[in-house]
Structure formats: C-alpha cells, structure tokens
C-alpha cells in the first residue's frame, strides 16, 4: 500500500484487512497510537486520515491507500497542543493523550466549549474529568503554552 505517513511517502506491505492500528504499531513501529478497547469506543487509537479523525482500530489497512495518515509522531513534538497538554495538565496517565491530541487537532482553531465537548465525545479519559483537557486546548489556541512553569498557589484558609 502506498500512502503518505506523517508527511513522508510510505510503501508498506501488510494484509489489506489488517487493522490500521496494528500496521502502524507493529509494521511501522509507531507505538504512540494506543489501543484501549478495540471496538471504536475509547478513541485511544485516534489518527487523522486526510485530516479527519478516525479510530484506527476500525479502519482496514486497504482504506488508507493513497491517503494522508497523521499520527501523534507526525506532530513532531512542537505542536502548541502538545506543549499545552504538558503545561495545563491535559495529560495524566497519558494513555488517552495521543488520541486525544489528534482529535483536538481535528477540532480546528479556537473551538468553543460545546465544540470541544462534541468533537472529543469519542475520546475517553478516565483521569482528568476532561476539564484540564479543555484548559490545554484553550491555552494552545491562545498561544500561552510555553513549557515554562507558572506559579499559582491554592487558597489560604480563612
């Protein structure tokens, strides 16, 4: 199969009905994409195909022929969302994080809270209660995530 993987041309041999998730993880050795349920419910395996988010556990490999596939590795570590997820607590255990960030990339610029809620509804996170994920996405869009520690303290008891 010939396709574009993280901006580079790729030619990969695998069974056409293999799960895209397995091809990425095992054939291409891109283990940033995670498996949480194997049935398209948790979104941990979210990648972008031609810019749209998909659950790679539900996509047969044949379907990416000629397409552009982007995984977490394709963001290169410099994406504002990646910075913001570190700085604003969007990542805790981190297992949903690659999928969550890819789904957040697909939200486009400056999503509203309802847009984030709808756009991320297919990505389960058990650690954060989602609040810190929204804060991270908002910060990435404001351009305030700088990977520098900020100082805040809790409230004093009165």
């Amino acid at each position: 199969m010939r396709f574009t993987l993280n901006g580079k041309r790729a030619s990969v041999r695998a069974h056409p009905m293999a799960r895209l998730l397995d091809v990425l993880r095992e054939t291409c050795h891109l283990t940033g994409t995670k498996e949480g349920c194997g049935e398209g419910e948790c979104g941990a395996c979210t990648v972008l195909i031609d810019g749209l988010p998909v659950n790679s556990c539900l996509v047969p490999f044949a379907q990416v022929d000629g397409a552009r596939v982007t995984t977490i590795e394709g963001l290169g570590g410099k994406h504002p969302l990646q910075h913001a997820f570190v700085e604003f607590g969007g990542a805790q255990c981190g297992i949903c994080t690659p999928g969550m960030i890819m789904a957040a990339v697909a939200l486009g610029p400056k999503p509203s809270t309802p847009e984030m809620q709808t756009g991320l509804a297919g990505n389960l996170c058990r650690c954060t209660g989602y609040s810190a994920i929204y804060r991270s996405i908002r910060a990435a869009n404001r351009g305030t995530a700088s990977l520098k520690a900020r100082t805040t303290t809790g409230r004093k008891k009165r």
């Binding site: 949480g36 963001l75 700085e87 607590g89 255990c93 297992i95 509804a121 209660g129 609040s131 805040t152």
Partner: protein
C-alpha cells in the same frame, strides 16, 4: 537560592514523553523470540473440574496448568485462598485454569480447550452467604443509651453496585526468563513489591531471583493494585516453561470479565436524633460482597467501616460490617477503598434524617460536623487539621446552596450536597507494619529519587521531585526519579491509600534532609569527586503520639484526614428518566497542595469518576459473570456526560505532612454519588440505590 518548587505548577516529569507518543507502555515493548500468552478460564461459577481436553495440535504451544507451579499455588496477598491456577474447584466464572503461549497470535486464538465440570449451586447473594472473609465491629459509647436518648429514630437501607476502575490501558505484563532460575517481569502496575512477593511464593524463588519493573502505566485507580500479581504469575509460568519471553496483555473484554471491581454493598442505618438536630446514636450494619476470594476485602471493609458514620460527632456509635464470599469474580481495590460505599449511605441517610426532622440539610450537618477536639467512632481525637465545617461553609456559600434549594423546588431540577472525609495512609498500624523506605542517590547534577511508588498518572514523580528539590535547596530540574524497578529501588510500600504524598513524600523529605547535611558546603559534583557515590535512605517511623489497637478497633485510625464537600445540580428528564448533572462544585481541604495543578487534576478526575458511579456505571451480572463487558455497554462519563467541575482548595497545612500535605487521591470519589442522589431527592425522586439509572428512577417514580 533556587526558586521554590513546592506550591507551584512545575512541568510533569514525563510530560513530554506522554504528549509525543514516546512514553513506553507495556504493549509498546517487545523482546526477541517473544511468545504471546492466553488464559483459558472457567465457564461455570461453581463446581469441580472433571476433565480438560486440548482439541488442537500442540506443536509450537506451551501449555501450563497448576502442575507447573514450582512453588505454592496461590496469589500471595493477605489470605492464601486464591489459586493462581485452578486445581480442582472453581469458585467463580472466568477463573484461570490453563495457560497457553504461542508465537503467532492467530494460531493462539484459535486453540480450543474444553473443560468439563461437575457444577455445583452458586450463591450470588452476600446476605445469604455463610462464608465471611472479615467481620468488623466498632463500638463507641452505649448504642442502646443513645437510641433511648433520641427524640426520633430514622432508619434507611442503601445499596451500591459494582464499579469498574476502567483504566484506559488494560492489564498487561511481559515475563522474561534468564535460564530456569531467574525472571524479570515488566508490567503495568501500582505495586511492584506486591508482584515481587507473589512471584517469590508462586515460583519458590528468593528475593534476587525475581525482578519486577513497572512500565509507564495507563491508569490504575486500584485496579492495578493486586491483580498484576495474578497476571505476572501467569506470564512467569509460561516464560519459565517455554524458556522464552511471554507477553500477556488483556483485551478490554477479558479485563472487564476477569479483573477486580469495587465491592457492591448493602448498608443499613438507624440514627437517633434530638428534635434540635443533635445526633444521639448511629447504628450501622453493612454487608460487602467480596466475590469468590478474599483478595483485599478485609482492608476494604475496614476503611469502609471506619468512615461509615461520616464526619459527624456522636457519643454512641455501633458499626457492624462483614465481607462475604459469593460466586462472582473477586472484588478488590478501587479508589476510595470502601469509603465511597459507606459514605454514600451515610450522606444520603443524613438528608433523610433532615427530611424527617423538617430541618435544613445544611443546618443538620453544621450542628453535627466534626470540630477539632471531637472524637471519631474509633475514639480518635481530631486535631486542628479537621476542616469539616470550613469546607461545608465554603461550598454552601460559593454555590448559593440555600437560595437555589428554595428556587429549584418543583422545577424538575434539584440541588444536593455531601460532606465527607478520607483518612490518608494505611489504616491503623498498617504503616508501621509496612515500614516503608525511600532513598536518594547523589548525582552529578543533583539527586535521583529511589522509590517503589509508581507514577500512574497522578504525578508521583513530579510531586516527589518537588519535595526533594525544596528540601535540598536544589532546582526541580536537578532531581531525577528512578523507574520503579525492584532491583534498584527500596520497598516504599504500595501506591495506594492516598499515602504516596503524605507518607512516602515525608520519607523523601527526611532522606533529602540527611543528604543535604552530608553534602555540607560541597556541590554534588565536588562531593562525588571527593568521597565517591552516596545514597541515603529514610525509613518510616511512627509519629510518637499515634496509637491503634487492632484487637479492639480503637485509636488513631489514620494520621490525618482530608475534608470535602460537593454540591451538584441535576436535571431529571420526565420522559427518559435520565439524570443529567448540570453543575458541580467541590471544596477540598488536603493540607497543602504540593502541586496545585496535579491536585486539581486528581479532584476533577475523581469527581468525574464519582459521577459515573452515581448515575452511569452499571455492571450487569448474569449467571455470575459480567454481561456487559465492553465499552459499548459499560458506560463511563464522556465529555458530554461531565459538567464543568468547579474546584476550590482550602489550605490547612498538616504539621507532620511534607510541607503540610495530606493525601488527595481517593477522597474526590467519596462525595459525588451521595450529592447526586440527594439532588435527585430534591428534584422529587426517592432513590437509595446506585447507579441511579433511568430504570431505577422510573421505578421510584412509579411507586410513589
């Protein structure tokens, strides 16, 4: 002097790895000559195995049953009742019987093993069970006198169901043999030394023949406290027999079917109260469903019962709890560890008492809430670190609770509240028995923290490094945190019980003070050049005035408690009976927040998990097995189910905690369920059983 790290939101140590996909979780690892493992499980809930037939070509397969256990065939934890592999008698469905390994996953999946049984009658009802794993009695004062003094006695029965931890990374391990007498197990886990001990017993190995290494772990919530000992044993048996590395990773269905869940419980309250609202008697009877084996039921019940009377002063308390055996997969550790069950009952009952007295629910709590100097059910005298009234008042004020309570009446919406507390660290003399250790090794640039406490998302590495940095007077970036590898780190005890910050953090602080004193005026580099390597270790010592009697259940159950108050607003749909939480405020007093951002993350996440417990998460058991063991039909909160979570941290530093810190991990899950059910009651529906699914709401409405 470097900038202080404690109290600031420094960057998470492993944050960059996690957002780039470089963090290596168990299933991301591979080894040469790797085999894949598979577990063949019982299909009946009770009976004896009559025969096992292998209907496949065994070429290339490694097959293991209980005959292959070189040591003792049980999962070493508290009791010795749970076999690693069934010998004859099956006590629950999905119990492991036979293990297979093969290098090709397809071939492995297609292998057919038939097990014939002589089935016996199962029991799924803990109240009808005749086998108790643990009974607990807590007595304070004279219950009969307290009931006699009451103007009114209010009774109530409350039920809670199973809950699945639902870490997004399923359980998994890789066992790598070195010859036949040495093994290394890598795995997703909370407690490397639990696994280490279990493997020694199972394999008949000594300390240095077993090495356990925690890999980056995608959530635990208690679900990776005891179960990894089981799966590590299985992988180790396959690896030793085949002489090859074996990877055993559960898919979601197997993880839901076979691993531990929160204990279901039935809790009955009988409360004596004066007309003016003062409590005179609290009488509680609780039955916890332990499942088929003891696992951690005794200690889950213990924490549950110690918290059962809630954060309230009362001179006459009687608490009776029992954890009973049933023919269902064993229940075990889950964030909160018995306290979410017992405090659900306590707080829903408190609103029922207020209703019967026709007194305001906030007022009733204000009258009875613990103050410094009051004594708990176990006779523990509370100190200045008691903040029950402070969190209650802040939550009521911030949410304009009383005004909303009046305004929402009769609108189909409701607002409810819960007041709760949570002990930090192991119960009673548990910490003394653990005798945990933490070490610091001097490095060229600073220090390396050596602890068995695991990073499972909550921020262990970051928080401990902040404590070490400020104690040493070094920058946060000069502190490294070693992998939790039993070959290198000492036993700091398990990563459970809201103990990592307060207990292990204090050990790190002590070790750092020692290291600083030894360094004197030298920089680490100068010291290493002059004197060579330096590692210092601190070990747990009981704070002098703490005392606990295991025999009578009297004394200081915990060194300190956190305090919390939740307020929830709900909408009850009159057509679908669905309950939607529309606003959520939580006020927490956790001593001092070492990292306010991480603490807030724990509170937000635990609150969301508690909202799931309240209304969504329904483990359907059919014939002793989970019938909905998929994420398609076991529903946890998504973005659309989770309201904005308003978090308030009140600081009341605990003098013996590191920089004033108490525990934080578990408490957030104690409050949401009773607050939601109290809000549903305010909206006009009387449910006393969670999860409060639309079916239960509809039934409650039909019966009124």
């Amino acid at each position: 002097m470097p900038r202080r790290a404690v109290g600031t939101n420094v960057l998470r140590k492993e944050g960059v790895e996690k957002v780039t996909g470089r963090a290596r979780y168990l299933d991301d690892l591979s080894f040469p000559n790797l085999l894949y493992g598979r577990t063949i499980r019982s299909t009946v809930p009770a009976g004896d195995i009559a025969a096992i037939r292998y209907d496949f070509d065994r070429t290339g397969f490694t097959v293991v049953d209980y005959h292959d256990v070189p040591g003792q065939n049980f999962v070493a934890l508290i009791e010795e009742d749970q076999p690693c592999l069934v010998e004859k008698t099956v006590r629950h469905a999905a119990e492991p019987v036979v293990l297979l390994a093969h290098e090709d996953r397809e071939t492995l999946a297609q292998a057919v093993v038939h097990i014939d049984y002589r089935a016996t009658a199962p029991n799924y009802d803990p109240e009808r069970s005749t086998r108790s794993f643990k009974n607990i009695s807590i007595d304070k004062g004279d219950i009969e006198r307290g009931l006699a003094e009451a103007d009114l006695v209010v009774e109530g029965e409350y039920r809670v169901g199973h809950q699945e931890q639902l870490y997004i990374e399923p359980n998994g391990v890789i066992a790598v043999p070195e010859g036949s007498r040495r093994i290394t197990v890598y795995g997703s886990m909370q407690c490397p030394y639990y696994v280490h001990r279990a493997l020694k017993v199972l394999l008949g190995f000594s300390d240095d023949q077993v090495r356990v290494v925690q890999t980056e772990t995608g959530g635990g919530f208690g679900g990776k406290e005891e179960y990894p000992s089981m799966i590590a044993g299985h992988a180790a048996l396959l690896a030793l027999k085949s002489g090859r590395p074996v990877k055993l990773v559960y898919d979601r269905v197997e993880d839901l079917l076979a691993t531990t869940k929160r204990h279901p419980a039935v809790i009955r309250h009988r409360t004596g109260v004066k007309r003016d609202g003062r409590l005179t008697a609290i009488d509680i009877d609780a039955v916890f469903d332990g499942g088929a084996y003891a696992t951690l039921s005794a200690v889950v019940l213990s924490r549950g019962m110690i918290h059962a009377s809630g954060p309230y002063r009362c001179d006459h308390v009687r608490i009776r709890g029992r954890a009973m055996m049933t023919n269902t997969p064993p229940n075990g550790a889950f964030r909160g560890f018995g306290a979410p069950q017992s405090q659900f009952a306590a707080e829903v009952h408190m609103d029922r008492v207020a209703e019967r007295l026709a007194i305001d629910a906030v007022r009733l709590r204000e009258i009875n809430a613990f103050k410094p100097g009051d004594t708990t059910a176990t006779g523990q005298k509370l100190g200045e670190d008691c903040s029950a009234l402070a969190v209650l008042r802040e939550a009521v004020k911030r949410t304009r609770f009383k005004q909303k309570r009046r305004a929402l009446k009769g609108t189909g919406r409701g607002i409810g509240l819960s007041l709760f507390f949570h002990g930090s660290g192991f119960t009673g003399s548990g910490e003394l028995k653990l005798g945990s250790k933490a070490s610091l090794a001097l490095t060229e640039r600073g220090a390396n923290i050596l602890v068995a406490s695991t990073e499972i998302g909550q921020g262990t590495r970051t928080m401990l490094a902040q404590i070490a940095a400020d104690t040493l007077g070094m920058p946060y970036d000069a502190i490294d945190v070693n992998d939790a590898d039993t070959k290198v780190v000492p036993d700091s005890g398990p990563t459970v019980a809201s103990r990592t910050c307060m207990i292990v953090g204090r050990l790190v602080q002590h070790a750092a003070r020692d290291l600083k004193a030894r360094l004197g005026p030298l920089t680490p580099k100068q010291y290493l050049r002059k004197h060579g390597p330096l590692t210092v270790t601190a070990q747990y010592e009981k704070p002098g005035e703490i005392s606990w009697d295991d025999a009578t259940y009297r004394g200081d159950a915990y060194e300190s408690y956190g305090w919390g108050c939740d307020v929830v607003e709900v909408q009850v749909d009159p057509v679908t009976w669905q309950v939607t939480p529309t606003a959520f405020t939580t006020v927490h007093e956790i001593g001092r927040a070492i990292h306010p951002g991480l603490a807030r993350g724990q509170i937000e996440g635990g609150s969301a998990q508690g909202l799931g417990y309240a209304i969504l998460e329904d483990v359907v058991m059919r014939d002793g097995r989970m019938a909905n063991c998929q994420l398609t039909n076991y529903i946890i909160p998504t973005t659309l189910d989770t309201p904005a979570i308003d978090v308030v941290l009140i600081e009341n530093p605990y003098p013996r905690g590191p920089f004033g810190a108490k525990g934080v991990g578990e408490m957030p899950i104690d409050g949401p369920a009773p607050a939601v059910v109290n809000a549903i009651r305010h909206a006009g529906v009387d449910v006393r059983d969670i999860p409060a699914t639309p079916e239960k709401i509809m039934a409650a409405c039909a019966s009124r």
